[in-house]
């Protein structure tokens, strides 16, 4: 039996209005990868933030490697060998990789010798097979690279207990595989790895032991053989939801969105969308597949009008909206679920009602002579809460206090309220638990069957294959091909995502059949 490195006993933590953790016990052992699961808002991040010294528990004790500890700051946790990689990375964007790694490290002398530091860090990176340009600024790095900086930071500090909060939520499948290789290696070397994730497939793949939380409490522990998709969902969900495979196809009708020869510049001036054309029909879900950074974000933003384009044409129905304002597009039936719900989707400091109003406050029905019709809004808020199963403590509280899944439901509630004809949904289930994911897809399917056209961007190929009627593969801002659901196979799409044309794919497949 390996020795327990982390023992949490009776951890309790309350935030105003919520019990985030209630008497939670948690044990992790040396050399294991331990998955921490639970629905959105179950209290996973809170528990780990306590372990990492960021939050103070109200009650409970922590025993790290046999010693009782008392953390007053993250610095204390670091001294105890604990490192946490947060859901939102904690990196200084305007600093270089080396500066981020060296910051606050005890070996960093008062007089900084950049050469020596870069040499030491590079040595650690090389020993762990982490490729990074030490002099690059963090803001220049992809999400996957930023995560490697965080890991390097922990390795450089000799963290023996590494916590990762939803590390794969924003990674491409390739990057995830690479991450898990690193983590397995670290576990083999005697580290304790704790990962929080909503992707059960990953859990079944890498975890030696699983702890499940539900509504702030411990709800189950599983290890080795007991870890299976069924057993885990059972422990996680408040009620057993049905996760069946088949999704009936949609009935595509008239074109609702046409994009012709679209050229858009992205961040840092790169040619993000490079001559893109496609048509989206009423009653279909058009999935957009592609390795992250191939123009998805710019495409979604250009269609919804929040990013200027260089040239091309965007038609909503028969109306040319190429130069139309965001508001004009909304009035013509466009809904947008942005990639970043907190930055672009919602105003964190405003309450539910105000956020629901954001894209329709000008409509006559929301106004009276004296201003916003708040009595009517209150009804709409209640309706939204009920219809979309939004868990909310205080309806008047700022929405930033809500958990990720609930925030996404708020965005959808707002966007779908206007019965849109076109829905651009960028990564709508990122960071959501299975229950919420299922609900979001159900809602999108319902909209499709109502007659809306849905442009669904996702990094999850399984989900794209399941829910889309057609799949458009983006590669370097161009359409590599559009595949019908019936013909779509993961392998084919994967190859196209790497830049293989459909014709070449067909050839390769023909050869491999014989």
């Amino acid at each position: 039996m390996p020795e327990p490195t982390v023992v949490l006993k009776g951890i309790t933590k309350a935030f105003p209005g919520v019990m985030a953790n209630e008497n939670v016990d948690f044990t992790a052992y040396k050399g294991e990868i331990h998955a921490l699961l639970g629905e959105n808002g179950a209290g996973k991040s809170t528990l780990m933030n306590i372990l990492a010294g960021l939050y103070r528990q109200d009650k409970g004790e922590m025993i790290i490697e046999g010693n009782r500890v008392e953390f007053h700051s993250p610095a204390d946790a670091i001294k105890a060998g604990i490192g946490m990689i947060h859901q939102h990375f904690k990196l200084v964007e305007n600093f270089t990789v080396a500066e981020n790694v060296a910051l606050g490290h005890e070996n960093t002398r008062f007089f900084v010798n950049k050469k020596n530091i870069a040499r030491d860090i590079t040595a650690v990176a090389e020993a762990n097979d982490i490729e990074l340009d030490m002099s690059a600024y963090v803001w220049q790095l992809s999400v996957g690279e930023q995560q490697r900086v965080e890991i390097l930071k922990m390795l450089y500090r000799n963290a023996r207990i590494l916590i990762l909060d939803e590390p794969t939520a924003v990674l491409t499948p390739q990057e995830s595989t690479r991450l898990f290789d690193t983590l397995r290696e670290m576990a083999k070397n005697g580290c304790t790895i704790i990962i929080i994730t909503h992707k059960l497939v990953e859990v079944c793949d890498v975890a030696h032991r699983v702890t499940v939380m539900r509504q702030g409490k411990l709800s189950g522990i599983a290890q080795g053989e007991e870890i299976s998709y069924q057993s885990l969902t059972g422990m996680m969900m408040s009620e057993n939801i049905r996760l069946d495979g088949k999704v009936p196809a949609g009935k595509a009708a008239a074109a609702v969105l046409e994009v012709k020869d679209l050229f858009v510049r992205g961040f840092k001036g790169v040619q993000a969308v490079d001559g893109l054309s496609f048509t989206l029909h009423s009653g279909e879900i058009l999935g957009v597949a592609g390795v992250a950074g191939n123009g998805q974000r710019e495409l979604a933003e250009a269609v919804s009008g929040i990013r200027g384009i260089q040239s091309g044409q965007v038609l909503l129905g028969d109306a040319d909206v190429t130069c139309a304002s965001v508001r004009a597009r909304i009035d013509k039936g466009l809904a947008f679920v942005p990639e970043d719900r907190m930055d672009t989707g919602l105003v964190g400091n405003m309450n539910l009602a105000d956020n629901l109003l954001l894209r329709s406050y000008w409509n006559a029905e929301n106004n009276t002579v004296t201003g916003i019709h708040y009595a009517r809004m209150a009804e709409k808020v209640d309706q939204a809460i009920e219809q979309y199963e939004i868990a909310v403590g205080n309806k008047k509280a700022p929405v930033r206090l809500m958990s990720g899944g609930n925030l996404q439901k708020v965005v959808l509630a707002r966007e779908l309220a206007l019965s849109p004809s076109v829905i651009v949904a960028a990564y709508p289930v990122r960071g959501l638990d299975i229950g919420a994911t299922e609900l979001i897809y159900t809602l999108l399917l319902r909209e499709r069957d109502r007659g809306a056209g849905v442009l669904l961007l996702s990094e999850d190929l399984d989900a794209l294959l399941k829910y889309s009627d057609r799949i458009l593969v983006l590669y370097r801002g161009r359409v590599m091909g559009i595949v019908d659901k019936a013909q779509a196979r993961i392998g084919t799409i994967g190859m196209m995502m790497m830049g293989t044309t459909p014709e070449e794919v067909a050839k390769i497949e023909a050869v491999s059949h014989f």
């Binding site: 700051s73 670091i78 600093f95 060296a102 007089f111 840092k268 206090l401």
Partner: protein
């Protein structure tokens, strides 16, 4: 104008610019750590009056300078408690500090208006350096505080750019959450930098009363604290540029008076406006790189209170 007049004018420019320089250096350090302090004017006035009183009473310049620095530092400490510990709005707290400092200095100094003292910072020619043609008489025949300010430019640049303390300060202003997670005591850094800013503002005040105007009168700084705040933006948070900016703004002030002396009359109000106008121009033309990321040197988390447990 002949050469000696020009040299004399540039010497006066350095003296006039040193008030700005001391105060804006302090503000740069405070803002680099993320704490915006709009109370410079108030801290400067309190430093000016306490330093002057200390000089009158103790006849010691060292005591006077220390008293002014402590007074400025205490003012900044109020700001620090409000903004760092109590997470109050930094703009409001800074404005309050200015109003409070203006009133407090007038009250404390009312018996010292018109009182003269011989305890003043006199020009000290640095042997050797002051002999250098042109530069010598301009830079090296000045008061002690001018030399101190020049050393501070170097020291602050060095600490910010070349030391691990500087790394911590800059990261606290860029991203306090990341700094905290890296095991740095963000609160200590912010308290320290904020108070350091007040210390220098206090010293700038002492410079005004004991090295430049050689007298105390109500509201003696007359908005120079605000110019120092604007200068930080003008200098894009860099000590070296703060030096250039301070002297430029100093020159603008001197020029108004000199031109009048030679019979060209331009309303002084116009000259008083110039520093702000220049700052606006820098903000308009000096920021942003096309295609790149917006970068005017402003710390990303400037004036945002950091609360570890907040969402």
């Amino acid at each position: 104008m002949d050469m000696t007049m020009i040299i004399a004018m540039l010497g006066a420019m350095v003296a006039a610019g040193t008030t700005y320089l001391l105060a804006s250096l302090g503000e740069i350090v405070s803002e680099k750590a993320g704490i915006l302090n709009l109370g410079v004017e108030g801290m400067m006035l309190v430093g000016a009056v306490t330093g002057y009183i200390a000089a009158v009473q103790s006849h010691s310049l060292l005591v006077a300078a220390l008293v002014a620095m402590v007074a400025g530092g205490l003012m900044a400490a109020i700001h620090a408690v409000l903004c760092i510990t109590l997470k109050a709005n930094q703009v409001v707290s800074g404005l309050a500090l200015t109003i409070f400092g203006t009133g407090l200095s007038a009250f404390v100094g009312k018996d010292y208006v018109g009182v003269l003292t011989e305890t003043l910072f006199r020009n000290v020619a640095i042997p050797g350096l002051s002999q250098i043609p042109v530069i010598g008489p301009i830079l090296f025949n000045q008061t002690m505080l001018v030399y101190v300010s020049l050393l501070l430019v170097l020291a602050i640049w060095f600490v910010l750019e070349k030391t691990s303390l500087g790394l911590k300060i800059r990261s606290a202003g860029e991203n306090p959450a990341a700094t905290d997670a890296a095991g740095v005591n963000v609160f200590a850094i912010q308290y320290g930098c904020s108070i350091f800013g007040g210390v220098l503002a206090g010293l700038a005040g002492a410079f005004l009363t004991l090295a430049y105007n050689n007298i105390w009168m109500e509201n003696i700084s007359a908005g120079q604290g605000w110019i120092a705040v604007a200068l930080v933006i003008f200098a894009r948070w860099r000590p070296g540029r703060a030096l250039l900016g301070s002297y430029l703004f100093g020159l603008v002030g001197i020029l108004g008076l000199r031109l009048q002396a030679v019979g060209i009359s331009i309303p002084t109000q116009l000259f008083n406006m110039l520093p702000y106008l220049l700052t606006l121009l820098v903000m308009i033309f000096g920021t942003g790189r096309p295609g790149g990321r917006r970068n005017d040197g402003a710390p990303a988390a400037l004036s945002l209170p950091y609360d570890r447990e907040a969402r």
